[in-house]
Amino acid sequence: MPIKVKYLPKQHIEWNAQELLAEYGGRYGEVVVPPIPVEEILEKHLKLTLEIDNLEARLGHPDILGALWAPDKLVAIDESLEPTDHPNKEGRFRYTVGHEIGHWVQHRHYFLEDPDQGLLFPKATSKATVICRSSQSKDPMERQADYFSAYLLMPKEMVYAAWEKHRGSMTPYIFNRTTRENLRAMGFVEPGELLASMAIEFVAGEIAPIFRVSAKAMQIRLEELKLLRREDGSLFSMEGVA
C-alpha cells in the first residue's frame, strides 16, 4: 500500500535538496563543483548506515534498486548497481542513493513518531519502510524522491556552469529542422524521431560524466532547465530514471 504523501511543489523539493547540500557543506566543506558526494552525505552527514546487498534475496521481490528502513536509519542498495563491480551502473547507483536520501529527508516523518529521536516502530523491525523497484509505477512519494535525487545530484547553478564550460556558451541545444538537415548532410539516415533522440542523448551524454549520473538523468535535468530541447518543446518526465 503506497503511503499518501502531501503534495510538494518541485520548487520546494529543489529547496530541500539545496538545503541539505548547504548543511553538508557547512560541516564538511562547501561542495563547489560536481560530482556531489552523495554517499558521504548519506553516511557522514545524515548518519545513515549504507549496505550493499542482493535485495531480491533479502526482500523477496525482483527489480528492487534500493530500500530504506527508517527506524533503523538504514539504507540498502542492490549489489547489481555497485559501481566498483559494475562501473557502467555508477549513475544509477548514485541516483538511487540520492532517491533514498530523498525519502529520508522528505518522508521519514511518515514513519517515525519523532523524526529526530523517537521511533514509531520497534527498533527490531525487519520490514523495510520504503522499497524502491524499477518496475513499479511511480506513486507521488516515489516521484518526490526522484525529483529530490535529480536536484541533489545536479544542482541548477552547477549544471549551468558545466554547460557553459563544456559548450562554450549558455546557448541551449535545440534539435530543429536545421540540426536535422545538418545531420542528414553528415550521412545520418535514421528516421527523424530517432535522430532527435540520438542527438539529444549524445549532448546529454557529454555532460553526464561531470556529475557522474546516467545520460538519461542528465538529459531530463537539462531539458527541465531549458538547455536541451526539441523544436516542438516536448519535455520528458523525470519518472523512471532510477
Binding site: E39, E43, L50, T84, D85
Partner: protein, 123 residues
C-alpha cells in the same frame, strides 16, 4: 560454525569503528583493498572476515591492534606458527605457563623477553 560468534563480533565491531570515524563504506573498502559489496557483507556477518593481509590493513585504517583484530576474525598471525616451530617444546611450555596470567603480567614477561633478546645470546 564454531567460529560464528567471533565472526559476528568482527563485522559489527569494524562497522561501529568505521562509522564512529566517519569513513564511508566506499572509502574504507578502497583503503582496505576489498570491494564495497564484500565489505558490506562482512560487516553484516554474512561473509567470513577477509584474509590476514586485509585484516591488517583494516586494523591500520581503524588504529586497532592487528593481533586483536585477527583474533576477533578467528585467525592467528601467520608468523606465529613458525615461531613456535623454532623451539616447539620450550615455546609450548612457555605459552602454557603464561596461559591464565593477567594481560599485564604477560606484557611484563614480553618486555623482559625483549630485553633479553636485545642483549643477545648468553655466552
Amino acid at each position: 560454525m564454531a567460529n560464528e560468534p567471533k565472526q559476528k563480533k568482527f563485522g559489527a565491531h569494524i562497522r561501529a569503528l568505521r562509522e564512529a570515524q566517519e569513513i564511508s563504506l566506499r572509502k574504507f573498502a578502497e583503503r582496505a583493498q576489498i570491494s564495497p559489496t564484500y565489505l558490506s557483507k562482512v560487516e553484516r556477518d554474512e561473509f567470513p572476515p577477509p584474509g590476514e593481509e586485509a585484516v591488517r590493513r583494516i586494523a591500520d585504517i581503524l588504529g586497532e591492534d592487528p593481533d586483536e583484530l585477527l583474533a576477533m576474525a578467528g585467525k592467528v598471525a601467520s608468523d606465529l606458527p613458525g615461531i613456535i616451530h623454532q623451539h616447539p617444546r620450550a615455546m609450548a611450555t612457555f605459552l602454557r605457563a603464561a596461559s591464565g596470567l593477567p594481560a599485564s603480567e604477560i606484557e611484563k614477561l614480553a618486555r623482559r623477553a625483549e630485553g633479553l633478546r636485545k642483549k643477545g645470546p648468553e655466552k
